[in-house]
């Protein structure tokens, strides 16, 4: 029988061999069977570490934001102190019990789901420890949600620098994977804001690390997918709080919008940039500023170079395009409905004052969960250098069109720091990116349709296949899909880090199914 290997979507997209080049079983972890569990629990209890084993307690952590992977831990430990976590890790090494660390649980491939073993809930350690108002550095426990960090900092008119547009993601989890914001093109990813960390190693030592102190560990922990230690405290750069003034420019096709985004970032003319689309029909370039002065400079020097339209101009153009194409009226109605529902939520009265947006991340985060969030947060990404970005967006868009009638793309740039190159090695930052990396998230909108797990998984895999073909990186804010890790990073990088992992974590118990 002839089997076509050129096809990107097999005849049966939900079959066991549907993931091209990836045996299906590699995408989900096998369950740990509970060897020595009773001895392990006893050892912990002797050290006064509470471990919850009731179904109602462990079931809270059944799945993650992706909603595709489901697994029950044998027991849950809610983080209370670095000492408690050190005791946990020492016992885990001794009895070879897997430990899965969870912050906000916003992973999408089950990285924060425990397939047996212990689930360590870091939100138990989520308090701000010290705010250095003059030095602009905050020391916080790492299980804190970015939202709560912002809440505390705002009482002193301060703010974090950049964080994911999802406020229930945790600081520790974000530092382990990157974290992108609409100001990442200016300031870098969230992980770049880390000054120093307190880490519990897989063998249970409590270590402080930074670029100056235990720098090798710091390199491995930042953007290290939780493989080399558990971040218990973090010192982060912060800044004075400013509301922002947002401008929107509308495009009818992807390429000019993406090109304008690249141009804007290179010009350093804006404080915030990003692209948010309704399919590939209504494409919005977001531009925003921290100060009136920056906004005025942009309006005087750069705005005229943009090819986007204002809201009314674009609306008329779109209407003219649809009126002669009755077969697309359904799409037009969807766009109208979407605009009516979404736009007020992107400019809520309570968060707007004198045309400025206050607490942008709250606004965006609530909109994300209301308009894009669902039981399955399926957000495969592609990350490329500047040169490949248009192709990545267009090819990923074609995959979205194939799978879903309605979807959104979200694109941002990430400023790269030369001094942080070592941090990026195991990460989603493409090794050939210079100056900026660019990321595009491809987000289906379900509109009440129930898609099967395998259909959603096939969609994700086809996006990642684009990454393979473009020889670039692909990632999600939750981490790297295990089945793709060697293809994304290459054997040399994976082998190097596997060796480091085996040295650091002899029993291979910490977040064991995420990468290795």
């Amino acid at each position: 029988m002839n089997v076509s290997v050129e096809s990107t979507l097999p005849a049966d997209p939900v079959a066991a061999d549907a993931l091209i080049g990836i045996p299906r079983q590699q995408t989900n972890a096998s369950r740990w069977q509970g060897e020595q569990w009773a001895d392990f629990v006893q050892a912990l209890q002797q050290q006064d570490v509470e471990i919850r084993q009731q179904c109602a307690d462990t079931g809270i952590y059944l799945t993650d934001a992706g909603g595709l992977a489901h697994g029950m831990p044998h027991g849950v430990v809610v983080a209370a102190s670095a000492g408690q976590i050190a005791a946990l890790m020492q016992a885990a090494q001794r009895f070879a019990v897997p430990v899965t660390v969870r912050g906000g649980g916003l992973t999408t491939e089950g990285e924060s789901v425990a397939f047996g073993g212990v689930l360590l809930d870091m939100t138990g350690m989520s308090r701000v420890l010290h705010v250095d108002k003059s030095g602009l550095i905050v020391r916080t426990q790492a299980g804190i949600f970015w939202h709560h960090l912002a809440e505390v900092l705002r009482r002193d008119d301060l703010d974090y620098i950049s964080a994911p547009l999802n406020l229930s993601s945790s600081v520790g989890g974000t530092l382990g994977v990157g974290g992108i914001d609409v100001n990442s093109a200016r300031y870098g990813c969230s992980a770049d804001q880390a000054v120093s960390l307190q880490v519990v190693t897989p063998t249970g030592e409590i270590v402080e690390c930074s670029d100056r102190e235990n720098s090798e560990l710091f390199e491995r922990i930042i953007l290290g997918y939780g493989q080399f230690g558990i971040i218990t405290e973090a010192s982060l750069h912060i800044r004075p709080y400013t509301p922002l003034r947002m401008h929107y420019f509308y495009y009818a096709s992807l390429q000019p919008c993406v090109e304008d985004l690249l141009m804007l970032d290179a010009s350093h003319a804006c404080d915030y940039t990003g692209i948010l689309t309704m399919m590939d029909t209504a494409i919005t370039l977001l531009v925003a500023f921290d100060s009136d002065q920056r906004e005025a400079e942009f309006m005087a020097t750069v705005k005229a170079q943009l090819r986007g339209y204002g809201e009314w101009g674009f609306g008329l153009r779109l209407a003219a395009g649809f009126i002669w194409r009755p077969w697309r009226w359904r799409e037009a109605l969807f766009l109208l409905r979407r605009k009516r529902e979404l736009f007020p939520d992107l400019q809520p009265d309570m968060h707007m004052h004198d045309g400025k947006m206050y607490d942008r991340t709250v606004v965006f985060s609530r909109a994300v969960w209301k308009h894009w969030g669902d039981r399955h947060m399926v957000i495969p990404d592609l990350a490329t250098n500047r040169d490949k970005f248009v192709a990545a967006v267009e090819r990923g868009n074609a995959v979205c069109r194939k799978y879903f009638p309605c979807y959104t793309l979200y694109c941002v740039g990430i400023r790269l720091r030369d001094e942080h190159k070592a941090h990026y090695e195991l990460s989603s930052i493409p090794p050939d990116a210079e100056g900026w990396a660019y990321g595009c998230e491809f987000e289906p909108m379900y509109n009440g349709v129930a898609y099967s797990r395998d259909y959603l998984q096939s969609f994700k895999n086809e996006i990642y296949d684009v990454g393979v073909e473009l020889e670039t990186s692909y990632y999600r804010f939750g981490g790297m899909m295990k089945g793709y890790i060697r293809r994304a990073l290459g054997d040399a990088v994976v082998e190097k880090h596997l060796q480091l992992k085996q040295q650091a974590d002899p029993a291979m118990v910490l977040n064991r199914d995420v990468i290795f």
Partner: protein, 224 residues
């Protein structure tokens, strides 16, 4: 109406939940209740966690699935026969008071105005714009968090029955980093504790409205 089985664990309800903010333990949150119930827990199984809820209603507004979380908690409390945070009887209409011209005239930019969270959240659609306008017109600060939910107070008179909830810590969180010279409270339940903690004048809305014109700007400590 969505029910507890529709909770998929987004954690948004935790962000303004006074109980979770104190405990940092997901069992003490609407999400924790819903997830536990999805796994067969009954009200009786959760009685300790349930009795820590002060039923401020913020979670109802934050849930993207629009689950009736307050209703879910009330039903579970009834099932558990656990002590609940029952509202003080015959509470006056603070919202109506907040709309009087006298209040607008007498509020100052250095006032901290404490909205009653239960009433605010229960009528959020109507009330949020009003308080936003009041804040902008007078320049006063309010007990609103980044989600524009009211940091809950108004539980002082029930503090003893709410053993699982630390009212002092809640007020400390409310006051953290806020700069003000006078506190105006809608619900006088926490008036005494606020006066003790801040050392500043604490007036109820009704007292402020009824102050004689000459006394409206006088610094005067009033205890409940």
């Amino acid at each position: 109406m969505a029910s507890f089985s529709d909770c998929y664990g987004c954690s948004l309800c935790l962000l303004s939940c006074p109980m979770w903010l104190q405990r940092r333990d997901v069992r003490f949150s609407p999400q924790g209740y819903a997830k536990a119930m999805q796994h067969g827990a009954t009200g009786a199984d959760m009685d300790q966690a349930l009795s820590a809820c002060i039923q401020c209603g913020a979670c109802d507004l934050l849930c993207p699935e629009q689950i009736d979380l307050s209703g879910m908690i009330a039903a579970a409390l009834q099932q558990a026969e656990a002590p609940a945070a029952v509202a003080d009887a015959a509470e006056p209409d603070w919202f109506a008071m907040s709309r009087t011209p006298a209040l607008r005239q007498r509020l100052r930019a250095d006032d901290l105005y404490i909205i009653d969270a239960v009433c605010f959240h229960a009528g959020h659609t109507l009330r949020a714009p009003h308080y936003d306008q009041l804040r902008r017109q007078t320049g006063c600060s309010m007990n609103l968090d980044l989600n524009r939910m009211a940091v809950a107070t108004g539980i002082g008179s029930r503090a003893e029955s709410l053993q699982a909830f630390d009212v002092n810590r809640q007020l400390e969180w409310l006051l953290l980093g806020r700069r003000f010279q006078r506190v105006i409270v809608e619900n006088p339940a926490d008036q005494r504790m606020l006066a003790q903690m801040t050392g500043k004048p604490v007036l109820s809305v009704s007292a402020l409205i009824n102050l004689p014109e000459s006394g409206a700007n006088r610094s005067e400590t009033e205890h409940a």
